[in-house]
């Protein structure tokens, strides 16, 4: 792939065993030799169940954890070689939306503060003054389907779907180029999920974003993603174009997942 935006090269992550009173537990290999490439502007899906390593992978991309071996490159730069200052600046360009809209918002912060915080932290790179930040927050809220009247409310006043929109707004605030989405609609009702998925697709088109979309729901992946990889117990099991993979899955895991998905379909 020429000039990928995100390049994950043979990443392995091993968590050392926990020291207990009587024995040390075995080390856990969360990721093993994972290699992926995400092109600019595409929607890349990662399908995995609990314990597959997908969360560990997002933490490594965000540099919240360091890989035991292997490299992660973003826009050509090896993330491990960044200075602390450069790493901080990087955080404006890679953002994340989490699964649980209830837990990922600070209950004591107003929506205004939540959405302007990333702009405040990266004030030097973005060069926005206080007034500009508030204006931009209002703009972004409109972009995600909320309004300026919501600026001074608190998270608990909103429904799950609205809270997830606030999370999306927060992610968009510093103007990122890559957005990680960790099961962004799994905690939402079906009708709300449809709205949020459509919003995400629309935003990608409008803002030229690149998505790294994690989900266990094959239907959602099929709807949103151009390419998809399946991860099982820390290893990438299969990878390819979404349509092709679903039409003709090669791996046993892909086949069993597709078969296990409960669908509204009668013989």
């Amino acid at each position: 792939m020429p000039d990928p935006m995100l390049e994950i090269e043979r990443v392995t992550k091993v968590f050392p065993g926990q020291r207990g009173m009587f024995a040390t537990s075995a080390p856990v290999t969360a990721l093993e030799d994972v290699s992926l490439g995400v092109a600019k502007g595409e929607s890349f899906g990662l399908v995995g169940e609990s314990g597959s390593g997908k969360t560990t992978l997002t933490r490594c991309i965000l540099q919240l954890d360091a890989p035991t071996s292997g490299r992660i490159r973003f826009e050509g730069e090896d993330l491990a070689t960044l200075t602390p200052a450069a790493l901080r600046a990087l955080r404006a360009r890679i953002q994340i939306v989490f699964q649980d809209p209830f837990a990922s918002l600070n209950p004591r912060m107003s929506v205004h503060d939540i959405v302007t915080e990333p702009m405040l932290i990266h004030a030097r790179t973005l060069g926005l003054g206080r007034r500009q930040r508030t204006e931009r927050a209002a703009e972004i809220l409109s972009l995600v389907g909320l309004g300026p009247q919501h600026l001074h409310r608190y998270p608990h006043e909103f429904s799950g779907g609205q809270r997830q929109r606030i999370c999306i707004a927060r992610a968009l605030a510093p103007g990122p180029s890559l957005v990680l989405l960790d099961e962004p609609t799994s905690a939402l009702d079906v009708s709300v999920q449809a709205q949020v998925l459509n919003l995400l697709i629309d935003l990608q088109r409008r803002l030229g974003l690149t998505y790294f979309f994690i989900s266990h729901d094959l239907g959602v992946i099929h709807y949103v993603c151009d390419r998809v990889a399946l991860i099982l117990r820390g290893r990438i099991v299969e990878e390819g174009e979404t349509q092709a993979l679903f039409a003709a899955p090669e791996s046993e895991y892909a086949r069993s997942l597709i078969a296990a998905m409960p669908e509204v379909r009668f013989p």
């Binding site: 955080r91 600070n106 915080e117 608190y154």
Partner: protein, 296 residues
């Protein structure tokens, strides 16, 4: 779509949350009783010396002709061995106990929050050292420690408050450390780190505001014990010196005159009981209302 004038913050958002909490609080009769008692105690603490019918006795004056008068209309709580009106003394003593108790709780909370927050947030060696320090303090019985410090520092209410606070802060430190450790794992803290927030910002903007509730609950629950400790020190003769009226010293003196002149002990004791009981009920009620597990 940038508006020139953005809408002002509706104050209803915050005050609505308070009204909601108050509604839940009102559900419990015991909590309301606690709140009522505490309000009464605070009222007396502020206005006590002026309400006392015999302010000269509060200042130290004696009336030996009227020693040991049983409770009557003139002296609702009777008089003590110096002829002083026990009712006036109890009212005036409320101020000392409440102020001292408040002082202890506030100082202990401040110190405990600082130590606990640093330990919980920094982790590693800092955490280990600070927690072992806390453990050391907990090994020494609070009262003994307070006695030793107060004896070393000399008499007086300020010294007594400092002495007790020194024995009190480890409890807060443990609580705060636990809360900080728990909050550190919450999704919104991870989100803050992902945005690029510095550790200081995460601690002060994200974690600490979310542990205010349990700290406040502990403060109100501890008030009762603080008042008891102040009285205990007074009982064994440390801290406040006569003629300043204090429930503990009053009880200590009255001990010798039981059971004949029961009113000299019973009324100060009852006042103490009432104050502690009230703060405990209030603390319980606050905990039920502010418990973060009861999510809206």
């Amino acid at each position: 779509m940038s508006d020139a004038a953005l809408p002002p913050p509706p104050e209803s958002a915050r005050s609505l949350a308070w009204r909601r909490a108050f509604f839940r609080f009102r559900q419990s009769g015991l909590s309301m009783l606690g709140a009522a008692i505490v309000l009464l105690v605070i009222f007396v603490a502020i206005f006590g010396p002026w309400l006392a019918p015999f302010p000269e006795h509060v200042a130290g004056g004696v009336d030996t002709a009227n020693r040991f008068r049983p409770p009557s209309w003139a002296h609702p709580f009777g008089t003590n061995e110096l002829g002083q009106d026990v009712f006036s003394l109890v009212l005036a003593g409320t101020r000392i106990s409440v102020l001292a108790g408040l002082g202890v709780v506030v100082i202990a909370a401040l110190v405990g929050v600082v130590v606990g927050a640093i330990a919980g947030f920094a982790g590693g060696w800092t955490d280990e050292i600070l927690m072992r320090l806390t453990d050391l303090k907990l090994v020494i019985p609070g009262l003994i420690l307070a006695m030793a410090v107060a004896a070393a520092m000399g008499p007086g209410i300020v010294n007594m408050v400092i002495a007790i606070s020194l024995a009190w802060w480890p409890g807060f430190a443990r609580l705060v450390r636990g809360e900080v450790l728990a909050k550190k794992e919450e999704a919104f803290v991870t989100a803050a780190r992902a945005i690029g927030a510095s550790p200081a910002r995460i601690l002060f903007r994200h974690i600490l505001p979310n542990i205010v509730s349990p700290v406040m609950v502990k403060m109100s629950l501890d008030m009762g014990f603080a008042i008891l400790t102040v009285a205990s020190l007074g009982f064994i003769g440390i801290g406040v010196r006569p003629p300043t009226p204090e429930w503990g010293t009053m009880l200590s003196v009255a001990r010798a005159y039981m059971p004949d002149f029961w009113w000299t002990a019973v009324f100060p004791g009852a006042a103490m009981f009432l104050a502690i009981f009230g703060f405990n009920l209030l603390g319980d009620g606050l905990r039920d209302v502010l418990d973060p597990r009861a999510r809206r």
